[in-house]
């Protein structure tokens, strides 16, 4: 995978075809975000991809699909138009002879329309806020990975279907981003625990975490013990609340490169 040393430019063609595995895609997109050169490379391969569509075996386009596409566009445009006042209201105002009851009904109808519009706006605002929050989270992730003080340590084997964990360690802030993939969720009431192993002394317990059913897990802000030289990190399965010392065999382990190497 690209995080383990492969030049991201070598993955641009496969990325444009959608042929990278999910973890490779994530790592590539992290590199893509900060590289105009990579963005140009991907853009050009997308032109190739558009041309390859020419060689797709012909298939009969359903005749009614065009009308469906246009109807959907017209409907969405209508939905974005400002609400029009009911025609009857204008007639009533012009005539100035409308009964009070009719006016009240129209007022109620218009008010109901405004209430519904306000509700729709509130839903859209919530959705936008959620997306902004997600975007900020993603940006923080990317920044955490791309920081020049960060070193990557891999637990497991690159390009392997076996469980793998990436440790992005910022030695300046002593923070670590832990990214697990292909790691099946721990059993009920159990969790994975990260251990820091100093050059001398017992393993130091760190965070517990679990993975999603897809095998993916992410812990963005892990405090790394300061004031000592760390030799390695390891993962064991422990009770949900964690253990003061490992109680099961080590599942994954990796040595840290010496600082500055």
């Amino acid at each position: 995978m690209s995080g383990a040393g492969q030049d991201p430019r070598e993955l641009a063609a496969a990325y444009s075809l959608g042929a990278l595995d999910p973890d490779e895609t994530r790592a590539f997109e992290a590199a893509l975000a900060g590289s105009p050169e990579l963005q140009r490379e991907v853009a050009e391969y997308r032109e190739v991809s558009a041309l390859l569509a020419q060689a797709a075996p012909g298939a009969g386009l359903p005749a009614e699909l065009r009308a469906r596409v246009l109807a959907q566009a017209a409907a969405s445009k209508q939905a974005h138009l400002p609400p029009r006042a009911p025609r009857l209201l204008w007639l009533a105002l012009a005539a100035s002879v409308v009964a009070l009851g009719a006016t009240s009904l129209l007022w109620y109808s218009t008010r109901q329309g405004l209430v519904e519009r306000d509700r729709a706006i509130a839903v859209l605002r919530d959705s936008l806020a959620a997306r902004e929050e997600l975007l900020a989270f993603r940006e923080a992730e990317i920044n955490a990975i791309l920081d020049p003080n960060v070193t990557l340590t891999l637990m497991g084997e690159a390009d392997s279907p076996k469980p793998t964990i990436q440790l992005f360690w910022n030695r300046k802030t002593n923070r670590m981003l832990v990214h697990a993939f292909q790691l099946a969720p721990a059993a009920s009431r159990r969790a994975y625990q990260l251990w820091f192993i100093p050059k001398q002394g017992a393993p130091i317990p760190s965070i517990t975490f679990n993975t999603e059913p897809s095998g993916h897990g992410l812990v963005p802000e892990v405090q790394v013990p300061a004031g000592m030289e760390l030799a390695a990190a390891a993962i064991t399965e422990e009770p949900e609340g964690g253990s003061p010392q490992p109680t099961t065999p080590v599942l994954l382990v990796a040595s840290f490169a010496p600082a500055g190497s």
């Binding site: 070598e10 063609a13 496969a14 444009s16 075809l17 959608g18 042929a19 990278l20 595995d21 963005q39 140009r40 853009a43 050009e44 391969y45 997308r46 032109e47 190739v48 991809s49 558009a50 041309l51 390859l52 569509a53 020419q54 060689a55 797709a56 075996p57 012909g58 298939a59 386009l61 359903p62 699909l65 065009r66 469906r68 596409v69 246009l70 959907q72 566009a73 017209a74 969405s76 445009k77 390009d159 279907p161």
Partner: protein, 198 residues
Amino acid sequence: MTDPSTSPRDADLVIRMARGDEAALGALYDRFGGVLYAVAFRLLGEKADAEEVVFETFAQAWRDAGRFDPARGSTAAWLTMMARSRALDLLRAHSRRARITDTAAREDSSSAPAMSGGFTAPGSALEEDERRRAVRQALDGLAPPQRQAIELAYYEGLSQSEIAARLQEPLGTIKTRMRIGMQKLRDALRPYYFEGAV
């Protein structure tokens, strides 16, 4: 066939769409709908799914027209990317890969696929024929293993790992074949990019 002297550019159609011009959406659909449907159908193997992909692609194009940046690539590349992404998502979500792969395995993978009608982009019939011929020649010019790797990814939605498993080849070999094959296609097809290409 559209007359290039009177036909609006693809990017102009997108600009008009951003202003709410439904006729521009219709024109864009007429140019690209057929080939996007062919790509989606090749990937998904189901007419209803392919139809949904094309519908959603144009719905997204309509919504996002205001954000389309012609400096970042052609309209054809933009639409193809959206359609393929949706088709691949659907393929993976429905776990239909095994069935599609079985269907494909019955076909002779070494034979060139039948050509679709192609994008009915503005330009002379001669220009469009030339472009389709160039794509076919460029694919034919690849070493068969390179072409196979690209076709399995493009037309069947397989990842590099899946291709390696299917062909029982090392992953690194598949990656190299795909990369070199795509580089050759890029070099061969650069003169035939759609208008507005990077």
